[in-house]
Symmetry: C2
Subunit: 255 residues, 2 copies
């Protein structure tokens, strides 16, 4: 029998002790909206996304780069930031708005999780819109998997846990896995909510915040399972996200 | 239509921001094993349980009390503590071992959650063994409910989340509820694991730790839904747990 593969879910970045991801593959999830937006941006032709945890850090970094090729983007509490070029709505990221540019991105939850994932040997960015492509990358990799959910303002997020559970579901189908308790909770969440994706995203706290701000269309956009076949991957020196792999063999969504 | 009742689950004590429980009813859960043990101890005739987060604090408190009527009890990592009278196995708590005594208790996860719950207006202790009795107390109370899971050494625990979900399930049956995302995850967990309680406890991380230490019987004991009809309740000045209510109208477990 082949050895069990380690698959751990971390429902919030702060729930993963420092060093936990070392030697593993991290999968960063912030469905509403950073990870969905990053996929959209790379599909639209962005060269790279530079994640910054803090607003001033993003401003300093963008200021130090060559103007015209850099866009300052992000949000706090879901709302765009004054003086920034773009917000955090995936629909803003079209070839017209961002092709050929580097994006300096700071968001409430997602960019912190991305920076945290840098300790892993490899780090991918997952959303529903690139689900099967991410799963295939994980199948081709034997290292322990750490699925890192960004959450919503320090609280666990239904939509991130749901996608984490969908990835656990697919990995469990393919091989023997050793799950932590959070991975079992995430799997349960996928079992119950996977067939009603949009409804789950709408009742989630993150979804409620977006609906209040008028971003209903972003929720529908975030639900489009396998719309794209591209996997964003974290690169180093400097820390940035670029296109890691493109293409899928088959659709893996079970519901 | 009656107003929605607020029902929040907190998967770990540190995930609830300070002040969150003020004005509400807290329900503290540490299925393996502190909350199960506390129910057993009160049923066996313990007068009160004094929860202490730290070992030295427990020793000092027990030392300051009248000998013969006080028992020093607890564990770290599941194992009994040197020099302590009792461990944290519910089976140790018989009328012979503890009737008429005050228990000074310190455990790895549970007693910290109990101390944290003291900020609520009212705090109850829940286990599977007193499930319906706790639910009935919550039905008779209109305040917001905060279900606080102790977790296992800083990680979310399947068994605590499962019981939290069972309570969410019962409250949702009775009235309109406003749930946070963690409450939805807990409910999903109950949906999937509620019919296989012992199996869930055995695969959980806390269950694995106990099995390694030879406490398999404690897991079976913790699964005995509604074995008792007693609700431990936190009292103040000094902070202690005593029998709050006894009796149930009906069994509420749905699986």
């Amino acid at each position: 029998m082949p050895p069990e593969r380690e698959v751990q879910v971390h429902l919030l970045p702060e729930l993963a002790p420092p060093g936990r991801f070392v030697g593993g593959v991290a999968v960063v999830i912030d469905v509403l909206r950073a990870s969905t937006t990053i996929v959209h941006a790379l599909v639209a032709g962005c060269c790279a996304v530079r994640p910054c945890a803090e607003i001033d850090e993003a401003q300093t970094l963008a200021g130090s780069m060559r103007a015209g090729r850099v866009l300052l983007a992000g949000e706090r509490g879901g709302a765009p930031l004054p003086g920034f070029d773009l917000g955090n709505s995936p629909l803003e990221y079209t070839p017209k708005s961002c092709k050929g540019c580097t994006l300096v991105l700071t968001t409430t939850n997602g960019t912190r999780a991305l920076v945290r994932a840098a300790e892993a040997e490899r780090a991918l960015v997952a959303a529903f819109v690139n689900y099967s492509a991410v799963c295939e990358q994980l199948h081709q990799d034997a290292r322990p998997v750490h699925i890192l959910c960004a959450g919503t303002e320090g609280e666990v997020a239904l939509e991130d846990t749901l996608l984490a559970g969908a990835i656990v579901d697919d990995l469990s189908e393919a091989c023997e896995v050793r799950l932590n308790d959070a991975a079992r909770l995430a799997w349960d969440c996928f079992e119950n909510h996977g067939c009603l994706l949009q409804g789950a995203l709408e009742v989630s706290r993150g979804g409620a915040i977006l609906r209040k701000l008028g971003y209903d269309e972003d929720i529908r956009t975030a639900c489009q399972v396998d719309r794209f076949h591209l996997v964003p991957e974290l690169k180093r020196d400097p820390l940035r996200i670029e296109v890691g792999a493109v293409g899928i063999m088959k659709k893996r969504w079970r519901h």
